[in-house]
């Protein structure tokens, strides 16, 4: 009887320790990114969506505390994924949420801690976020966010020389897309025999890959950029 009581106490204690750990880890990640008041980053965006045949786009990303983020193309016509703003880690961690420790996992060769974030606000668009944190470097490596309106977003982040600020060099952003169907006949297309045979597997997943080459951190970003 006494043995069972001690074991239960130990289990409860270790569980609460683990929960504390994950909270502590998230706090450390937050502290890291809070060193950044604003930044401007330039890079390239590769969009991979079944119906979009678009070239690499030159983009600039602007961020300003607390959670303003703007992704802009520097030239030409470009399709900017609307949910791309969710790659803002500040945004992800700024909400008031409850944390559930979901144990550990592996991303590549890195052992990561997994946490599920449940927003406390019933009106929040986010239903659930799952984050994967590298506990050694205190960096967010992956997140999955399920929203009420826009489906599920997934982020994969890789870090380089700006890891001390928690700013990624590469972001792979996956999102849900809707079917795109133009009514046949309005475009008067030139059809070739290969067009009729062309049947590809349709995917409702889109991927945008952002590669940042340079960050300007804490040098000030004009408010007008976010309008």
């Amino acid at each position: 009887m006494l043995r069972t009581f001690f074991l239960s106490c130990l289990l409860l204690f270790s569980k609460s320790m683990l929960a504390q750990d994950i909270k502590g880890l998230i706090t450390k990640v937050r502290q890291k990114i809070e060193k950044v008041n604003d930044y401007e980053a330039s890079g390239k965006m590769k969009t991979n969506v079944a119906f979009l045949k678009v070239p690499l786009a030159d983009v600039n990303v602007y961020f300003k505390k607390p959670n303003k983020l703007k992704l802009k193309s520097t030239k030409g016509v470009s399709f900017i994924p609307k949910g791309a703003v969710s790659f803002n880690i500040n945004n992800l961690l700024s909400e008031d949420f409850s944390i559930i420790d979901a144990g550990t996992d592996k991303i590549g060769n890195t052992l990561v801690r997994v946490a599920k974030l449940l927003p406390n606000d019933d009106n929040s668009d986010v239903v659930l976020s799952t984050i994967y944190i590298d506990p050694v470097n205190n960096l967010l490596l992956k997140s999955k966010t399920t929203t009420k309106e826009s489906g599920t977003y997934e982020l994969l982040l890789s870090y380089g020389k700006y890891s001390e600020y928690g700013l990624p060099d590469k972001v792979v952003f996956s999102f849900n897309t809707k079917d795109y169907k133009l009514p046949k006949g309005i475009t008067f297309d030139f059809e070739t025999s290969s067009d009729n045979k062309a049947k590809t597997i349709k995917s409702n997943k889109g991927v945008a890959e952002l590669l940042f080459s340079q960050y300007k951190i804490n040098q000030g970003v004009a408010e007008s950029i976010f309008k």
């Binding site: 590769k46 133009l182 297309d189």
Partner: protein, 297 residues
């Protein structure tokens, strides 16, 4: 032959209907440009549909001179053959109607030369029409809307696509497309000229040419598998839109456009061969019929 051609060109230049074609193109293009300047975003919204739920697009940049020209050319697809038929359909039948054909044939010129000179004159008129269209639809649109990357909305087989061509990669495609259009419209000129041989007033061949173009175009766009397979390849109108092939840019395995590439050059080349074959065939029949024809008017 040169003097004969000069005379034919002089005759075309003296007909009011020649300038009517240029005025019609000017009016249509200006209306389009005005409409898109006022509310081009509505058209863009229609074409983008639910893409806008997932993506933001700088529509102001997307509605540029290159895009405008493509839209205008797409819409003028049915009208331009009518304008070509207006002149080519009148070439022989107009002379017959005025009674000048018999007089003309009393001169020491072969009947083949007469047909050839009329055909070349119609071809030159077609080229001038296209040059004017390029000036109005392309260069004026660039002046009004500027230059930027070009978007192509397309249905390929069962799927719809949006292609983006970088602005440095567009202009050569227009030159190629206008070159192709010149050949395609020459088929219409050759057809109208052939029909003109059988008539004694110009209304008949002009209307018949227009009817053939409209009926064939409708059949070409029916999208019924049996017709697509068995009838469509035999209709010259199926190849009139081949100029668009220059804007279907090739893509790599990741779906990114390859600058300077064309998705299906063999299809364009084959279409060109078919159109050129039509020109020779129609012209050959015209010469053969005209050489044996009793000229009674």
């Amino acid at each position: 032959m040169w003097s004969l051609l000069q005379i034919e060109l002089f005759k075309i230049s003296k007909r009011p209907r020649t300038y009517l074609s240029f005025a019609a193109i000017t009016a249509i293009v200006l209306i389009f440009q005005l409409a898109f300047k006022a509310d081009g975003k509505s058209y863009m919204d229609l074409m983008l549909q639910n893409v806008q739920d997932n993506f933001e697009l700088n529509k102001e940049n997307a509605i540029n001179g290159y895009f405008m020209c493509y839209i205008i050319l797409n819409t003028l697809l049915v009208q331009i053959p009518i304008l070509v038929a207006l002149i080519a359909g009148d070439a022989i039948s107009g002379e017959a109607n005025m009674g000048t054909l018999r007089l003309m044939l009393t001169k020491p010129i072969s009947r083949s030369q007469i047909i050839l000179s009329k055909f070349i004159a119609s071809f030159i008129y077609t080229i001038l029409l296209l040059v004017w269209m390029a000036v109005m639809a392309l260069f004026l649109s660039i002046l009004i809307f500027g230059m930027d990357d070009m978007l192509i909305f397309r249905v390929k087989g069962e799927e719809s696509q949006i292609l983006q061509i970088l602005k440095d990669d567009v202009i050569w495609r227009y030159f190629a497309a206008f070159g192709y259009a010149a050949i395609a419209l020459t088929v219409i000129a050759a057809l109208a000229l052939l029909l003109s041989v059988f008539a004694e007033n110009s209304i008949g061949p002009i209307i018949t040419t227009v009817c053939i173009v409209i009926i064939f175009t409708i059949v070409s766009n029916l999208n019924v598998p049996v017709i697509d397979k068995n009838v469509k390849p035999w209709l010259f109108t199926s190849y009139l839109v081949g100029w668009k092939g220059f804007f279907y840019i090739g893509t790599n395995t990741e779906g990114q456009p390859i600058p300077g590439s064309i998705e299906n050059w063999p299809a364009i080349r084959n279409s060109l061969f078919i159109l050129i074959a039509h020109i020779f065939l129609l012209l050959g029949i015209t010469i053969a019929v005209f050489r044996k024809k009793d000229i009674l008017s």
